[in-house]
């Protein structure tokens, strides 16, 4: 499981695209360049560490890692905000899309792993259903099923009275 020269070359070859993918996921969900950069770098570090295990499916794996890091990041931010006095607890609204980002995060975080994985690839990385199927090594039909169920589930979650 060590990273040999060939593996290192392969890692370097995919590095730019993986970085951009992780950055895109993080930015779309958080809307913050600095956080997105950090999450992208952390994602790629984890890819490097586990390269021999994940090289065969590195794209989806990295996307999952980046998404989980976003959730962690958001959770911590929420906890930190909760500790602040009420007057300071409102999220800044400088980002006009912040509510949409929040909603997407909430939807994705409530989904089972596989559905979330499919939705992340489809909607956060703009992959076609065929590309998602190839990346996850499943049929296009399965992708459609996961997308449909994921959307339904996300919708029902969002519509639940709080």
């Amino acid at each position: 499981m060590t990273v040999h020269t060939d593996d290192r070359d392969r890692f370097e070859a995919v590095f730019p695209e993986l970085y951009r993918s992780a950055y895109r996921i993080a930015y779309r969900l958080l809307g913050n360049d600095s956080d997105a950069q950090e999450i992208a770098a952390e994602t790629l570090t984890r890819v490097y560490v586990r390269w021999p295990r994940v090289a065969g499916h590195v794209g989806p794996w990295a996307a999952t890692v980046a998404t989980n890091l976003v959730f962690d990041c958001a959770r911590r931010a929420t906890r930190a905000r909760d500790r602040l006095p009420a007057v300071a607890s409102k999220e800044p609204r400088s980002d006009p899309d912040s509510e949409l980002r929040l909603d997407v995060r909430a939807m994705l975080s409530a989904l089972p792993t596989r559905q979330r994985q499919v939705l992340v690839l489809r909607y956060l990385l703009d992959m076609s259903e065929e590309q998602v199927a190839a990346a996850l090594d499943i049929s296009v039909g399965s992708v459609k099923t996961h997308l449909s169920r994921g959307r339904d589930r996300a919708r029902s979650i969002m519509e639940e009275p709080t």
Binding site: M1, R20, R28, D126, E159
Partner: protein, 432 residues
């Protein structure tokens, strides 16, 4: 609400950027550190018997072979590749094999080494698809296999070792720690039996033990977390860790002296520049960082990252190695020294002949493990000052002025242990 079909509107206005040029290097370096947990620092501790005065002659008359800023003449610091902590219960499967002909004959591929004196030390590594811990009581001439497959640190199938072994540290002849990002094992019988204990994770956001060191009756542990690692400590012999605080940089490692731990942050995700903090049981306080003259900084001649921090027996004295890393056209390093416990730093020596990945000092010289191979001694006096030139060394450390250890890259067929007993002039491969 429905999930919008098109989320491109959430992208940055200027589009998704390419990775900055330095990020690949940062990622690879951080990844290597996590995988191998190589010792990137040397610490003092238990063994540093001789305490002497430190005399720094900042002679500007060309100390190093590269026309360095000044010359290194440190009179007595010591170093050792030592480390940490705790106790053991559930006995791990053990095996005994007495060293013959200098070694166990197992051909252990060493991942980490620790010495508590010039004579007594331990290594952890893999052999025949298993993880093994060996001990020496004669300075590395003979090794004995004490334990096989410490719980949670077992070698992967096919004997591949990677993220499993972070390091091994002993606080004294009995209390030792073996760790990885996924397991923390402790022993209280010198390494014969090991017990897996929980990695302290008070905030529940840690991703594993990334560094452990022990000195002054305490063990210190970093649990990597996002955004910053948490710092924990416990008395040697106890597994009741107390959370001290968070490190100021996401990529950090430890060096210890007495009851204190120095938390060294390297560049990478998080702060742009490296930083240095001191942790005690009372909390964490910042120090002036060495290596502050990285690209764009205003202190020329002090490039890059903190590759290593060495504490000396003399209170207040620290040595730091700053390195640009290999991902620049002309790698360079500086040795910096602080005589006031990190309040201020003086550049002692500059070299551009190697990209340093590990750093150690004796009372008179500094040693760099070069990424391209070899151990370079400073102040340099010519090509003869590079030893093991064909070996990719990832760790170098000294337990005193004469006795030192070096590890070769544990990947592939590496993981060899080298010893010197003449202050770094000659190195011999140990039979582990």
């Amino acid at each position: 609400m429905n999930l919008p079909e098109d989320l491109t509107g959430l992208d940055p206005a200027d589009g998704v950027p390419d990775p900055p040029p330095h990020v690949l290097g940062v990622v690879v370096r951080a990844g290597r550190t996590r995988r191998r947990r190589r010792r990137m620092l040397a610490v003092t501790p238990v063994v540093c018997a001789a305490v002497a005065a430190v005399a720094i002659a900042a002679s500007s008359a060309g100390g190093g072979r590269n026309g360095g800023v000044s010359r290194l003449e440190v009179a007595s610091p010591t170093i050792s590749a030592t480390p940490p902590p705790t106790q053991a219960t559930r006995p791990s499967p053990t095996a005994t094999a007495t060293a013959t002909g200098g070694g166990t004959g197992l051909g252990l591929q060493v991942s980490s080494v620790t010495f508590v004196s010039a004579d007594e030390g331990w290594v952890i590594g893999t052999y025949e698809g298993r993880t093994g811990v060996e001990r020496t009581t004669d300075g590395g001439a003979h090794w004995t296999l004490l334990a096989a497959s410490p719980p949670g640190l077992e070698a992967a199938p096919q004997g591949i070792q990677p993220p499993l072994i972070g390091g091994i540290r002993f606080a004294d002849g009995l209390h030792g720690y073996a760790f990885s990002t996924s397991a923390l094992d402790v022993t209280d019988d010198g390494g014969r039996t090991w017990k897996q204990v929980a990695i302290p994770n008070e905030d529940r956001d840690g991703s594993g033990a990334t560094d452990v060191e022990a000195a002054g009756g305490r063990v210190w542990l970093l649990n990597a977390a996002i955004p910053y690692p948490s710092i924990y400590t416990a008395p040697v012999g106890s597994t009741r860790f107390t959370r001290i605080g968070r490190a100021g940089n996401r990529l950090a490692f430890l060096a210890t002296r007495g009851p204190e731990a120095y938390v060294v942050g390297t560049q990478g995700a998080g702060p742009v520049l490296p930083n240095l903090e001191v942790a005690t049981t009372s909390g964490v306080s910042p120090r002036t960082s060495p290596c502050a003259g990285g690209p764009g900084a205003n202190r020329p001649g002090s490039p890059g990252d903190i590759t290593g921090l060495v504490t000396t027996p003399l209170a207040g004295v620290l040595d730091a190695m700053c390195s640009t890393g290999p991902y620049v056209p002309m790698p360079s390093n500086t040795v910096e020294l602080s005589a006031d416990d990190g309040e201020s730093w003086t550049v002692l020596q500059t070299t551009s002949n190697c990209s340093a990945v590990s750093f150690a000092t004796t009372s008179s010289r500094a040693f760099l493990a070069c990424a391209d191979g070899g151990i370079e001694a400073l102040p340099g006096r010519g090509s003869g000052d590079v030893q093991l030139a064909s070996v990719k060394i990832t760790y170098v450390g000294f337990t005193n002025d004469q006795d030192g250890v070096a590890l070769s890259d544990p990947t592939g067929k590496g993981g060899a242990l080298y010893l010197t007993r003449d202050g770094g002039t000659h190195w011999t491969k140990a039979a582990t």
